[in-house]
Amino acid sequence: MRKLRVVIAKPGLDGHDRGAKVIARALRDAGMEVIYTGLRQTPEMIAAAALQEDADVIGLSILSGAHNHIAPRLMELLKQKGLDDVLVVIGGIIPDVDIPKLKEIGVKGIFLPGTPMQEIIEFINTNARARSEV
């Protein structure tokens, strides 16, 4: 079985990348193949990276409050590219009221501040499947 391939992306203008980098490293240490896009990614860039990297999982780190714009756009683009089976998760500061909307458009996991890394690793291992096996 090939390793899960995870694209960790930091969309929007925010540069606070501590969370993105820590989780990227934790997933790598947990045996996944991690591609970190770096900062200031548009939904178009993230979808393109997912396609190019043959990603099984996309992890977005968003702290700035821009999730209501970025997530719907990304989900739409993934659908267009036939990548709707990619597991999308978000970590960051997401107000409670926004969570149902994000789940509705297909974001499977939303991890708020203080979530143990182990919980995220287990969630991904349980919910993602290597695309080549699908």
Partner: protein, 554 residues
């Protein structure tokens, strides 16, 4: 036979400690600070061997200022209670400022949104969803006029957290002050203007390091003659710490950034004593109480020596390190948010005991959203209680002479100087950043801390221990899209009503000056007066210098 040189501490360990440890061992094998620094169980005078009171500490107000820069501590003047605030439109933030000033705040501190910080107009594709979210949106002089409507800038001090586009935002402030009739010569406040820590930690950079440093030295030069009381830079460790550094790394990288700015100023032909007195610092007030206090005390001592001995500064104002501090945002938890009030109070107390000159206390809801007005008021009250009820302000440097604090202060100083050597050997901080040195050090510390939390080596109350299920949600400030809509409409209107020919000419001149070594402030002021937008001005400079892109390090 009796051992010849048993010290008092060794005798105590043998006679008193060991029998106790046999009966009741300690809770852990080792004890460390939040930064992982090992801490002994007891410090005594034996730990301070070689410490010379006058040379290493000195009374407050005297070199090297370990015990403070004011001879009277806080008995003369309390620290400035400066609450960082900004959200949505300039109108909304203007209202919040008036509330804070009415509640007894003694200075303003502007939080800008991400488009402003990144030099993008609200209609740029990357501004999507970001307008007014993390701070107030300021696109042009028109917004700045609204932001300070009814607040006389001659009578208050304002701190502005702005870095890459600092020159543009500062120019807008100067023009508003001028319109209100305030004299630039008496105008006081601070712009953060610290680009090095953006490359290192916060990542809100626009231009490459070298032209970015040139803007900063231009601001130093401009202010020395035109706005002499303005604090031209706030060299910031806050963001370095938030990005995951240890207390020592925060101290070392921040002060070494300070050295870099001074060196660039000197290389640009400025006299140290003309611009260094206007350099101030900004530290994080984190959770490890004594380590933080030691950090502030060591900072003052190191800076005094560096300015006198490395740069030959002659004025005592150049030797005195003044600093703002802010409690640690990263320590706030979304879980059981009321616990954050207690964390913030302790952190604020450490900053006060360390002699902070100005302080921001975070609000209890900031792990969830920007603060509500009630939460922001409670945060300010926390400072007022420390200032007026705790009694800690009655005496200068209350912890001076504590064996533990003095030993930690010395360790922090030694550790920071070792980092200085390492960075000097690389050729300076710009070179160290270009090879990713501080970035790697910080990422490593951040990951190590996260692992310690996962293992519960470090307990975070309410997060990895003392967890409570089914917490009731608290009221938060929800920022909707109306700010973006209003700012977009306003920008539209501006582009229709201003003299677009004058704007274009001012931007051409800005491009032309950027290609020379002339000071950039005059053409920026002209562009601001013509109501050029922040995006347009930054684009003009992007045309000349390009944009910086980092190689991500994980």
């Amino acid at each position: 036979m009796k051992a010849v040189a048993e010290t008092e501490k060794q005798r105590w360990e043998r006679e008193t400690l060991e029998p106790t440890l046999k009966k009741s061992p300690e809770r852990a094998q080792s004890f460390t600070t939040i930064s992982g620094r090992p801490i002994e169980r007891l410090y005594t005078s034996e730990d301070l061997d070689g410490l010379d009171y006058k040379r290493d500490l000195a009374n407050p107000g005297e070199f090297p200022y370990t015990r403070g820069i004011h001879p009277t501590g806080y008995r003369g003047k309390l620290w400035t209670m400066r609450q960082f605030a900004g959200f949505g439109t300039p109108e909304e933030t203007n209202q919040r400022y008036k509330t804070l000033l009415k509640a007894g705040g003694t200075g303003l501190s502007v939080a800008f949104d991400l488009p402003t910080l990144m030099g993008r107009d609200p209609d740029h594709e990357l501004s999507l969803g970001e307008v007014g979210k993390c701070g107030v949106n300021i696109t042009s002089l028109a917004d700045m006029e609204t932001l300070f409507e009814g607040i006389p800038l001659g009578g208050i001090t304002t701190s502005m957290t702005i870095n890459s586009p600092a020159a543009m935002i500062f120019a807008m402030y100067l023009v508003v002050a001028e319109t209100q009739g305030a004299d630039w010569k008496t105008l006081s406040g601070t712009i953060q203007n610290d680009i090095l820590k953006e490359f290192i930690a916060q990542k809100e950079y626009i231009f490459p390091p070298r032209p970015s440093m040139r803007i900063i030295t231009d601001i130093f030069g401009f202010c020395a003659s035109q706005v002499p009381k303005w604090n031209t830079i706030s060299v910031s460790g806050y963001h370095i710490r938030e990005a995951g550094s240890t207390a020592l790394q925060e101290l070392a990288f921040t002060l070494r950034d300070g050295v870099e700015y001074v060196q660039w100023g000197v290389d640009a032909g400025l006299d140290v004593d003309d611009f260094v007195p206007r350099i101030s610092f900004f530290f994080n007030a984190h959770s490890d109480f004594f380590e933080e206090i030691a950090k502030y005390r060591a900072a003052r001592k190191i800076w005094a020596h560096v300015m006198r001995d490395r740069f030959g500064a002659k004025r005592d104002r150049s030797w005195k390190l003044r600093f703002h501090s802010q409690t640690a945002g990263v320590s706030l938890t979304a879980q059981q948010p009321y616990n954050n009030v207690v964390r913030t109070a302790l952190q604020a107390l450490s900053a006060v005991l360390g002699g902070t000159n100005s302080l921001h206390t975070n609000s209890l809801d900031e792990a969830l959203a920007l603060p509500t007005a009630e939460a922001a008021t409670l945060a300010l009250r926390t400072q007022q209680i420390i200032a007026h009820e705790s009694g800690v302000t009655n005496v200068a440097d209350p912890l001076g002479g504590s064996y533990f604090v003095e030993k930690l202060t010395r360790e922090m100083e030694d550790g920071a100087l070792a980092y200085f050597d390492q960075i000097d050997r690389m050729g300076g901080m710009v070179e160290a950043i270009e090879r990713g040195f501080p970035q790697k050090e910080i990422a490593e510390s951040a990951y190590r801390f996260q692992q310690a939390v996962e293992r519960k080596d470090k307990v975070i109350v309410g997060v990895n221990d003392f967890v409570q299920e089914d917490e009731p949600p608290i009221e938060i400030l929800y920022i909707d899209e109306s700010a973006a809509e209003k700012q977009l409409a306003r920008l539209d209107r501006l582009r229709q009503t201003r003299d677009n020919g004058a704007v274009a000419r001012s931007l051409d001149r800005l491009r032309a000056v950027a290609k020379t070594t002339d000071n950039l402030m005059p053409p920026i002021l002209d562009a601001v007066r013509a109501y050029a937008t922040i995006g347009e001005m930054c684009d003009a400079l992007r045309d000349v210098w390009g944009e910086y892109e980092e190689t991500p390090i994980i």
